[in-house]
């Protein structure tokens, strides 16, 4: 290639929010610049939460993102409860897990079928896929499985997207056992489709050039005792990190980079890292449900896997797990009893983390004795992943230079989509600048 190639895409189709990427390849075929930028203007959550009451924080922060509201909601609830010394019942712990798994089922199936599959199959959208009679049954099942995630959220919290029942100390109302059992039946019915999804996504991700691209980097996730971590755990990594979740501000830090005037999220004293399904499956494989492990083994998935294009497969494996875990949780919850949520204000400071569908989601801050928030910190998974994604660009683009601009652009989009980015999440803590020459 003898001329300079400048690839710039102003928005990325089928991602949530407003982002763009910029790749500059010089006349010698050297990648001069490869970066993903976020344009969406910040909504300043961390600023306007100051001065609000503790009980409002979980209500507000779920409005950071309509795709993973409960990841933010539960992380903030747990940070507040830890700061104010509020104890919750075992039933509340289980209901919260079920609530968060419903986000996973909705978000993972949205990602796999609405957002990623059209890329791999060469369709402009899932709507266009529905036009192919061979694919129509898959699309119909995809709609059903996503619907199921939504139905679970409705049963648990009254409404899709933003929940109405979950508060500090517990729930203002609990679902009936009949509704839970109905969901359980649906979950059992959808299980097979989830299982097939693992095979399907593996076929997609095993296409050339994806199958040969891998890049070793640190993978980070929560790890729980005896179960797959979703709402709590220790923060562990493939390079030996192992600390309590509330210590995240000490270990996941941001480094200011003067050259690009942006911030890079790194692990203290080390480098960029990845959060999300691939990191979780790598670190917590043994606590996945039996059938999720079986599905992984059947397609020959081995850990640790450092191919970011396999993220979609990890996501499918987690979809099987989320269904199994939800079925088991419904059994364990049995007949929910109403317990009045109780708490009193107390001065305190704490942090907590959850595993959002797209990776570790961190919240925490300080509350005074009147329950007024003095400081609040939010770091959403996409903010953690941006630097790592830019490194993927640097590593993989030189290997794909033979492709046409159009094809290379599509591959860059797939690289971005591996992270299931959520720009609403990213921006209020990201400091990225769009550079134009």
């Amino acid at each position: 290639m003898s001329t300079t190639r400048n690839i710039r895409v102003d928005y990325i189709a089928r991602t949530e929010g407003d982002g763009a990427f910029d790749v500059l390849i010089d006349s010698n075929g050297i990648v001069k610049k490869a970066s993903w930028n976020v344009w969406e203007p910040p909504r300043f959550f961390e600023a306007f939460l100051i001065g609000r009451k503790a009980e409002e924080i979980p209500e507000f922060v779920q409005r950071i993102c309509g795709i993973c509201p409960h990841s933010h909601h539960i992380a903030s609830l747990r940070a507040i409860e830890r700061a104010m010394d509020v104890k919750v019942s075992n039933q509340t712990v289980l209901l919260r897990e079920l609530l968060h798994y419903s986000d996973w089922i909705m978000s993972h199936s949205l990602h796999i079928y609405y957002l990623a599959a059209p890329d791999f199959l060469g369709y402009e959208s899932v709507i266009a896929m529905a036009g192919n009679s061979d694919l129509l049954p898959i699309v119909e099942n995809a709609l059903k499985i996503k619907r199921l995630g939504n139905d679970m959220i409705v049963v648990l919290s009254g409404q899709e997207i933003q929940n109405k029942t979950s508060v500090i100390g517990g729930f203002t109302s609990v679902p009936s056992v009949t509704d839970l059992r109905k969901l359980q039946d649906q979950l059992k019915k959808m299980k097979e489709f989830a299982y097939d999804t693992v095979k399907l996504t593996n076929t997609l991700a095993s296409q050339s050039p994806y199958k040969d691209l891998s890049r070793r980097c640190e993978h980070v996730a929560l790890q729980d005792v005896g179960k797959y971590a979703i709402n709590e755990g220790r923060l562990v990594s493939t390079m030996g990190l192992d600390v309590p979740e509330w210590d995240y501000p000490k270990y996941m830090i941001e480094k200011h980079v003067p050259e690009c005037n942006c911030k890079h999220s790194i692990i203290k004293d080390r480098d960029s890292f990845l959060v999300g399904p691939l990191a979780r499956v790598n670190l917590n494989f043994n606590t996945l449900s039996i059938d999720a492990q079986k599905a992984a083994k059947e397609i020959g998935f081995t850990t640790p896997c450092y191919n970011p294009f396999m993220s979609i497969v990890a996501r499918s494996i987690e979809l099987v797990h989320a269904i199994d875990a939800s079925i088991a949780l419904i059994d364990e919850i049995g007949t929910p009893v109403f317990e009045r949520p109780r708490f009193s204000y107390k001065a305190g400071k704490s942090f907590a983390a959850t595993e959002a569908p797209r990776g570790t989601c961190c919240h925490g801050g300080q509350i005074d004795k009147y329950g007024v928030v003095k400081k609040w910190d939010i770091v959403a998974p996409t903010a953690r992943n941006v630097y790592n994604l830019n490194k993927d660009f640097e590593e993989f683009i030189p290997k794909l230079l033979d492709l046409s601009d159009e094809d290379l652009t599509l591959k860059c989009e797939v690289m971005i989509r591996n992270y299931d980015p959520c720009q609403s999440c990213a921006t209020h803590s990201l400091k990225v600048r769009l550079q134009r020459e």
Binding site: T15, P42, F45, R63, G66, P69, G158, E160, S173
Partner: protein
């Protein structure tokens, strides 16, 4: 007219309302049979330019860039719908207008370098452009959304009535949280349409659908202080939340400048 061309635009928002528009799985394919979605970045790759027949706008305006985008949307769409409380009133992001900090101070709390941050106070989109229809709620109510689409297809006006949430609450035979449980419920000043969702689930209404047509915020503020025991600051927080920009709700705050 053939199939109307429909566009979905996102300003500063959580995407929850767009997602609600997609969460109609059982009838999604039917809806696609009667409208032509020509612009929906979150759902498709091939997005076409205007003009459009109907433009749904999600989110509030928080930056000059978005304001430009919004003006263009108005030019390109015959009908503009404010989709969700952020677009109708400013929503949760508008809280930053009331937190007692200047714009620069707010920015400095989140950003250490202020080189590229241009943001502005947060308002609903009708602060800047004419809006034809409003879908309230955080997120929007799916039924109202479908009623609006059907009405627009038929060329009739959708009938949305904004009497208070209490009306729906009474129809559901709920025990009143304000009177009997001493909870600070905003239902009596908030527009119905959600089926009294929160009070039916034991949760006080937080006012997410904005002011009702017969909103008497001052009187509720007094009840909050006298009967429920809220402080002035707590009352201010109650009204300065989803729709603090509206004259109706700001009356509830009284002379208290900020919390």
């Amino acid at each position: 007219m053939g199939k109307p061309k429909v566009a979905f635009f996102k300003l500063s928002s959580c995407a929850g309302c767009q997602l609600t528009a997609l969460n109609i799985e059982p009838i999604l394919l039917d809806v696609l049979g009667v409208v032509d979605i020509t612009y929906f970045v979150m759902a498709k790759r091939e997005n076409h330019g205007g003009p459009y027949d109907i433009g749904f706008v999600e989110g509030a305006v928080t930056s000059p860039r978005e304001l430009e985008e919004l003006k263009k949307i108005r030019e390109e769409c015959s009908v503009v719908v404010a989709m969700g409380t952020c677009a109708c009133f400013g929503g949760i992001p508008s809280i930053k207008n009331f937190c007692g900090m200047t714009q620069k101070e707010v920015e400095a709390k989140v950003y250490t370098e202020l080189w590229d941050i241009k943001s502005m106070p947060v308002y609903g989109i009708d602060y800047y452009i004419d809006v034809d229809y409003y879908l309230r709620g955080c997120p929007i109510d799916k039924n109202e959304y479908l009623i609006l689409i059907k009405s627009l297809l038929k060329g009739i006006n959708p009938l949305f009535r904004f009497h208070s949430v209490c009306n729906e609450c009474i129809l559901k035979e709920n025990v009143c949280l304000l009177i009997h449980k001493k909870k600070a419920c905003m239902g009596s000043v908030t527009a119905s349409g959600c089926g009294a969702l929160c009070p039916s689930l034991g949760r006080e209404c937080e006012g997410c659908r904005g002011p009702a047509s017969d909103c008497n915020a001052e009187s509720l503020a007094e009840v909050f202080m006298k009967d429920i025991g809220l402080s002035k600051a707590d009352v201010a927080r109650k009204f300065l939340k989803y729709a603090g920009n509206t004259p109706e709700f700001s009356k509830g705050v009284g002379h208290y400048e900020h919390y």
